[in-house]
Amino acid sequence: MRRRKFLGYAGAVTAAGGLTLLAGWWRVDGPGAPTPPGTRPLPLTKMEFKLTDHEGQTVGPETLIGKPTLAFFGFTFCPDVCPTTLSDISGWLDALGEDAERLNVVFITVDPERDTVEIMEDYVAYFHPAIRGWTGSADQIARAAEGFRATYERVPTDNGYTMNHTASVFLFDAAGDFVSTIDYHEPREFAVPKIRRAMKEETTEAT
């Protein structure tokens, strides 16, 4: 009914109405339920940034095309959420067994000042071997976060500073399209099927 009314107006209004409906569907029923509308990550193919992985290789969003991707933001000086997220992801990857090799798993630091390539290399070694650590200039990190619609903020403390940051894990299919998020500390029973779904989209498109 509402939709029909919109159709009577100019094309722009129709588009806006459609977007509203799409956003509503996405929020209520869609796979992006935990993600507020308008903050959906861009497809990886629309992102532009250049970072360095923990082995010193130049990487960017294009590095992730071809396999489904789990990407998340954090920092190695984070004592609670980040090791927990990395452990959770390591557990999901263990549950996927050999299928984990068909995934890109990327931990992008929001604290490039402290998280150098060497620090990232040291840190990711403690978790599942599939996890890659990405760092780079503050400017390029900001561009990456913008593409993922992730936020972060430096907060001074008595002891230096800490970082507030988006703790969700972003899931993309092999084509680089956003599939869903996995919330911080989401139980394995929910997380692993979400990853499998992102992997299935890859298979469907391939056949």
């Binding site: 000086f77 004592p79 959420v81 990395l86 403690y126 936020t151 507030n164 940051h165 703790a167 911080y184």
Partner: protein, 153 residues
């Protein structure tokens, strides 16, 4: 997870109550204490536990002391509806009679700032909980792997 935590009545936790003058905090029991190993000493460490008040009076945890870290504090991680996590000192922790306060990943945790030595997997350290009634409790906290998710996974 929670049930597992409850069901495992750890032999790990030590409660060395102080004098009988401190009836309130004397009724406190700490279970399932654990910490994550650190990488060196430049990053803060984290420790977790369950603090149970088995008494009939409320108790308030006001501070922590350990020779492992110059600034041990209880912090709270919270994650908002946008998925953004932040961390801040939690202040005093009041524990009602018969209540349990759980320090676990993603929530309340002991933040060990200015580490004096690296936290090595397999070792342990002692942490003293200080209560508002003057009572103190010493807890021996085992250090697990950096990728540990709980007291015994």
């Amino acid at each position: 997870m929670k049930q597992m935590l409850f069901s495992v009545v750890a032999g790990l936790a030590l409660s060395l109550g102080t004098s009988a003058a401190h009836a309130g905090s004397d009724a406190v029991v700490v279970e399932d204490a654990w910490a994550r190993a650190s990488i060196g000493t430049s990053r803060p460490g984290a420790a977790y536990m369950e603090i149970r008040n088995r008494g009939e009076e409320a108790v308030t945890l006001t501070g922590l002391a350990t020779d492992l870290a110059e600034m041990p504090e209880i912090h709270r991680t919270s994650t908002d509806d946008q998925g953004v996590s932040s961390m801040a000192p939690a202040g005093d922790i009041a524990i009602a009679p018969e209540a349990t306060v759980t320090l676990e990943p993603g929530g309340l945790h002991v933040m060990l700032m200015r580490l004096q030595r690296p936290m090595m997997e397999g070792e342990s350290f002692s942490l003293t909980l200080v209560f508002s009634d003057g009572g103190e409790m010493k807890v021996e906290v085992p250090i697990r792997s950096i990728s540990a998710r709980g007291p015994e996974d």
